[in-house]
Amino acid sequence: MSLTSEMTALAPDVIEETSFLRDALRAFRKNRMAMVGLFFVVTLILAAVFAPWISPHDPYRVALDEQLLPASSTYWLGTDNFGRDILTRILYGARVSLVVGTVPSLIALMIGTVMGILSGYLGGRTDFVVMRLADMMISFPSLLLAMVVMYTLGANLLNIFIALALVGWASVARVVRSQTLALKGKEFIEAARANGASRATIMFRHIFPNVVPTLIVLFSLSIPDAIMWESSLSFLGVGVQPPGSSWGLLVAKGKEYLFQAPLVAIAPGVAILLTVLAFNFIGDGLRDALDPSMKD
């Protein structure tokens, strides 16, 4: 065809092969706050994983003669009312808090994504049912909902997951649904339909990849939420049970000694604060890096 020469003769033969995620990664690396957050989180994860090897003391050893000691060279952050090393307790608590931060978020994300895409793309009755369900979830006081779940099913880790996922999916579904609605009107979705693609193909091959960046951001921003939730539940006594440890539980137990030994409550509190901040920085960085409006 004669026209072929009109373009190709002049255009470069190869365009550098990049991918969206690679570009996003490059943008993320330039964000200093996000990188600090990432560094903190990675360190924390390593510390939590290797807690048995790096913690200076045994987390469960009770030493009644060493109760509520202030910070010293032996006990860097002092001891609690059973004479246990607070730093060690925080490191072990990180394991629970991180798991609780991620697993329920992931479950909520998966449920929310499927519900959101179905609801947005299929519309009609499906949309109505899913959205009313989500409305119910959102309008019900979520702390109460979580507490009810914990009371009826019992206070253990698995039930915390269930409670948090139940609370979290609805808002994910709403975000995904509105994105799906916007994408549904795009010409490339019509093009897929014009090519005879089935509804399942359109929903999961065309729409889903376009919501992934949003999901990543939602995920990173929901982790601090979940950590806070776990802390609240444990603080209220329906979360992790002693002698296990989580940051929320540490703060809850420590509050009784706030005046004698403030570190007992404040140290895990600060750990929560820093972690939540770090995840928020990462989330903001991801949101900027993945924002499609920054591209083309």
Binding site: M1, E6, I15, A194, D296
Partner: protein
């Protein structure tokens, strides 16, 4: 001209707006009783201003939107009666090239995936055969095969439009709707893409339904033209005839409104249509054009003109020009 590829009879698409708890129900008559025959290997241009329903008509013809009533016959087969599965099978032959080269390609898919998907949907063959066909498609639209692994955002508007064309051609279609397919492109690129479209038409025996608001392109590119106003076809005829001797006043005003790329003609007195298009939610009585038509008489305000044949032309006007 030869065999009819696609025809519509009294095709209608009404949208219902509002009608909820607190809002009044409005019916927008986007397409309102369009009957049309498109012949094999011709380029039929549908022109009209925004909101006249031309884009909706293109979508409804392919059943991308469901018609409210009327029939769509593709080579004798009534598309409006097919179930979803049978319709999906027909989509191989009925394709569309979109307006916005930025919105019509999935930003998260590589060019290869974009081109391979319609092939896979219709069981083109082995992975190897599909890969070869994708490369062939890029050749066909004048792009390098090496672009297969790239993403849409790495291309210019003109290149993306070529990719959109390649995707439409993947399964060797018969009938292609081009919905403002060159409107978003720069002039010099526009000419390239139009040339590509006409080369492809000759090579692949395509029939084009070319939707546009740009009359200059139509004159160069189309065999026949249909002029649409508020959901109805007001005039249909051969391109030359229609441009040289418009019969419907609206057609005449449309043609005279196009700026001429010739400064010596600027002094000419030309008729300019005043006023705005009436809202499709609140259509005027009688002829839909009478509120803007300087030639309107009493009958135009009360009675809607039916399409009638004058020579080779169809015109819906009580008082066609020059007849």
């Amino acid at each position: 001209m030869s065999e009819v590829v696609l025809s519509t009879r009294e095709l209608t698409k009404h949208y219902v707006l509002g009608g909820g708890l607190f809002s009044r129900r409005h019916v927008v008559r986007a397409v309102d009783g369009v009957s049309l025959d498109i012949y094999e290997r011709e380029t039929f241009a549908l022109v009209g201003e925004s909101g006249c329903g031309k884009t909706t008509l293109g979508r409804v013809m392919l059943r991308l939107h469901e018609p409210t009533s009327g029939t769509i016959l593709y080579r004798g087969q009534d598309l409006s009666r097919l179930n979803e599965r049978a319709m999906r099978e027909q989509r191989k032959k009925l394709q569309i090239v979109f307006q916005d080269p930025y919105a019509s390609l999935n930003p998260r898919m590589r060019i290869e995936q974009i081109l391979a998907e319609p092939l896979r949907t219709h069981g083109f063959g082995s992975a190897e055969a599909i890969r070869e066909r994708c490369a062939e498609l890029l050749d066909m639209v004048g792009l390098s095969r090496r672009y297969l692994r790239n993403y849409p955002h790495q291309f210019s508007g003109g290149q993306r439009q070529r990719i959109g064309i390649a995707r439409a051609l993947a399964n060797k279609p018969d009938f292609v709707v081009c919905d403002e397919s060159v409107s978003a492109l720069d002039v010099s690129i526009q000419a390239q893409v139009l040339n590509l479209l006409s080369d492809l038409q000759a090579d692949l025996k395509l029939t084009y339904f070319f939707i546009t608001h740009d009359l200059s392109v139509v004159r160069q590119f189309a065999d026949r033209v249909g002029v649409m106003f508020l959901g109805r076809l007001v005039e249909v005829g051969l391109t030359e005839d229609l441009f040289d001797r418009p019969l419907h006043p609206y057609t005449m005003f449309l043609i005279s409104a196009v700026p001429r790329a010739d400064p010596r003609q600027r002094g000419r007195e030309r008729p300019i249509l005043m006023g705005d298009i009436p809202s499709p939610m609140n259509l005027p009585s009688g002829c839909r054009f009478h509120t803007r038509c300087p030639f309107a008489k009493d009958i135009c305000r009360t009675e809607e003109p039916m399409p009638r044949k004058i020579d080779d032309r169809l015109v819906s006007c009580h008082f066609p020009l020059e007849s």
